[in-house]
Symmetry: C2
Subunit: 490 residues, 2 copies
């Protein structure tokens, strides 16, 4: 793969001087068109040490307009980043629609370095590549243009370049430089595997020979122009790539998982008070223990309108020190959120190690309200099952305790509560015309919920279906599950 990029291609000083302003003016023109476009551009700058990646990044900044252009370097991990799933730092750097981010280092860096330095095994590496493929698929499906540049040097050329560098400016900045060059062959092998496994038509690799700086720079300009122009001129056809976790598990017409929820469960007030106190005290201690052990919890609360999500959330938070949790109520996205992938706004609020984030409604809106109301296309929401499973897998891999509650009630109970709300001055605000409209689409929502549970109730992130016709039962069930899952993780 890399040998093909050892052709010794050169560009003369004169030729480059002629090409330079041409490339720049084309890039500037494309950048202006991009500003009005509805997709982001992600440029990944990667490759061997000594290939001049830093110079390439500087060049791109010289050529292009700083407005709408950002560079993010992934080398100096902060504790806020370390205390969240690895991809959090990449989500942080995601450009909004119409903007471009240059990523200096990327999601490829750690897997390659870790395997080359034998910190991980090949299995783990392949799993990381699978995650990368999935991540890039997801971005492209959302419209993103990903330009992946790999700068290559032959072993001989690399040693020469590193020696030259060391003579000149103040280097020694990269402690791994020596290690890299010593293990050139190993790095080459691992990188080649990474590139081969992630070189797909919708996110192809561009291997650029870097032994001649002028040739390298001109190629970068050409590649970027070509990819940008192609994407601006012709939006890619919808990929139609939809892999649903386990379609066989669910057949249309089946009564579905919701029918098994024991809605007739009831609880006496006395037993409820007692359980509330007991589980509350237990959760208080568990939350502090989790904080000390740096165990993070993410809890998702979904359910029918008036199912009692809010009340259940309050019973959980009342059993925790206010410093330890945060409740995110998911309402209409802000314009910054709308300009990103729909998962971006949830990544944003992930807690640091030891803390809890409770989502009152969540990323599942994609396969519930967005599906039913037609805000997301069929392809979009069908794809979302996989995207969500991958997101949750990353949470769990990081050691996060992930809880997902569906608070279930039946239609009669909902009607009763709606009417009650209309009559109570304290609760009137909770009932709107939209609630009544949603209610009319009950069968559509029921179908959506069933599909959601079937496709996203995984081993590592199971759904807890909570019977909610009796609020006491629901609250205790949730507190109990919260305690059990947390205790298991400690």
């Amino acid at each position: 793969m890399f040998e093909a990029a050892e052709l010794g291609l050169k560009l003369s000083k004169e030729e480059f001087a002629r090409r330079d302003p041409e490339l720049q003016s084309q890039l500037l023109a494309l950048q202006r068109r991009l500003r009005e476009a509805d997709f982001p551009v992600i440029v990944i700058v990667s490759g061997v040490e000594g290939a001049g990646k830093g110079d390439v990044v500087s060049l791109l900044h010289r050529w292009m307009d700083a407005r709408g252009l950002e560079t993010h370097a992934f080398w100096d991990e902060s504790d806020e980043e370390r205390q969240r799933p690895h991809y959090w730092r990449f989500w942080r750097a995601m450009p909004a629609k119409g903007r471009m981010s240059i990523l200096f280092g990327s999601w490829y860096t750690r897997p390659i370095v870790d395997l080359a330095l034998k910190h991980t095994k090949r299995d783990h590496f392949d799993r990381e590549l699978e995650r990368i493929r999935h991540f890039e698929d997801m971005l492209v499906d959302d419209g993103a243009l990903i330009v992946k540049l790999w700068f290559h040097l032959s072993k001989k050329a690399q040693m020469k370049r590193l020696e030259e560098d060391a003579k000149g400016r103040d280097v020694k900045l990269e402690p791994l430089t020596r290690t890299y060059s010593k293990s050139y062959d190993r790095f080459a092998k691992v990188s080649e595997r990474a590139l081969r496994k992630t070189d797909v038509s919708h996110a192809p690799w561009h291997i650029i020979e870097a032994s001649n700086a002028r040739h390298r720079d001109a190629r970068v300009g050409e590649v970027l122009i070509e990819r940008l122009a192609a994407r601006l001129d012709e939006p890619p056809p919808s990929s139609g790539r939809v892999t649903v976790s386990s379609p066989a598990m669910h057949r249309a017409g089946d009564p579905g998982v919701l029918s098994a929820v024991p809605l007739d469960a009831r609880m006496e007030d006395k037993a409820y008070r007692k359980a509330l106190e007991e589980y509350g005290a237990e959760l208080w201690d568990l939350a502090w223990k989790a904080w000390r052990q740096r165990i993070t919890t993410v809890a998702v609360f979904e359910g029918w309108d008036a199912a009692g999500k809010g009340g259940a959330i309050r019973r959980v938070t009342q059993a925790m020190d206010a410093r330890l949790y945060r409740v995110i109520s998911v309402a209409a996205p802000t314009d910054e959120e709308k300009a990103h992938h729909y998962l971006w706004r949830f990544w944003r609020h992930l807690p640091r190690d030891g803390y809890h984030t409770l989502y009152d409604r969540s990323w599942y809106g994609r396969v519930l309200v967005e599906r039913v109301e037609g805000f997301a296309s069929a392809l979009d929401w069908q794809r979302a099952y996989n995207e969500i499973n991958s997101f949750e897998e990353q949470l769990v891999d990081h050691g996060t305790v992930l809880l997902k509650f569906w608070v279930h009630i039946d239609q009669e109970e909902q009607l009763r509560r709606f009417r009650e709300r209309e009559q109570s001055p304290l609760k009137q605000h909770k009932i709107t015309a939209e609630d009544w409209r949603n209610r009319e689409r009950w069968p559509d929502y029921e179908r959506a919920v069933t599909d959601m549970v079937v496709h996203t109730s995984t081993d590592i992130a199971p759904w807890t279906l909570v019977p909610g016709n009796d609020k006491r039962v629901a609250r205790i069930e949730i507190l109990k599950t919260y305690c059990e899952r947390l205790a298991k993780a400690l």
Copy 2:
């Protein structure tokens, strides 16, 4: 001051049970009105150890709707926070308009603890209080409602409470608990001074006796209801509080500081190339040294349209490793930015220790374009001088190297460049109808620039007025100043 809050007030269980739903329904109603309002609410929860601050925060969450309500605890500083001016973490927690943040711990905590534990001197403490006063003034001037709650316990009551706590649940969470209680008198004295010096009519303190939990809780509800209702019913009159740094320095009609800029300075191409290379190499080394020493740089680029800010910024960034800097081009604010104080969007992008942020246009827009175009009221922009000086003082106090460049050209040179742009296919996009409109208001802008320089060129954050009729002169002047100021800080 505190003695007045040792009255031994109590509330019976029955009385509280009666008040509880009343308070809740009033709070919920006010919270709904707040949602439509154009101001944020900041509730500060502070006071002695053992007063049940955590319980109060939980209570507020029980009473109110989680939508539009956030709690931020300031106890567990991350390195991202430590590596920026102290107030960065508070800016991060600022609620948007229509929302409420409960601050558990606040800008009062560190000054009080530091003085009580004798980590700082009284002078420093008073300076911190001055900063707090200024900060709160600024928020209130921007429309915010600040509710400051101080929970008080007598010495005897505190010891009793702490002992009770230790018996029950899993405490020992606060390593300072012992220290606090041991030095009750000292903390009381310091806190009293803090409260006295920051108790102003637009941001008053509410001292709440905390020995009886029910009394405490009911008082919290009452205070919050009273303040919220008052603010919703009647927006405060504009304070008219404007203190301009040094009005005597500038008289209308004076030729002004800009007239002294040597616009006729010229530079030969050869000398320019040489200087560019020399300062470029110097800056490369300095930037790496600064990174190692964790010295941060913030550089502001302002100037007339077509003055050459972009080109100058590129000459600076080309002399730095792309990992070390970030260019923020200030364009129209997003809706999240619009929902906050105008300085919020700039705090957002402050670099971590060792890095550079270059602002292409900046917070000075408030006293330039917003003043001239009437986007900010006269009171707003006049107040901004002080707000900006305080912001910049915080940067410098943190050890940040702060550079401020005004790139100056005259009207003839601007006209020449506008025409040139119109004729160049590469630069056509840079000239818009708005540029021509701005040009017609040259005298207004000139006045605004002069005032800006007079009021914000301080000892610690001086403006560098850069002659820009010859772009070479401007670029070298900027590079040179950048190097000098950075070198001085190392």
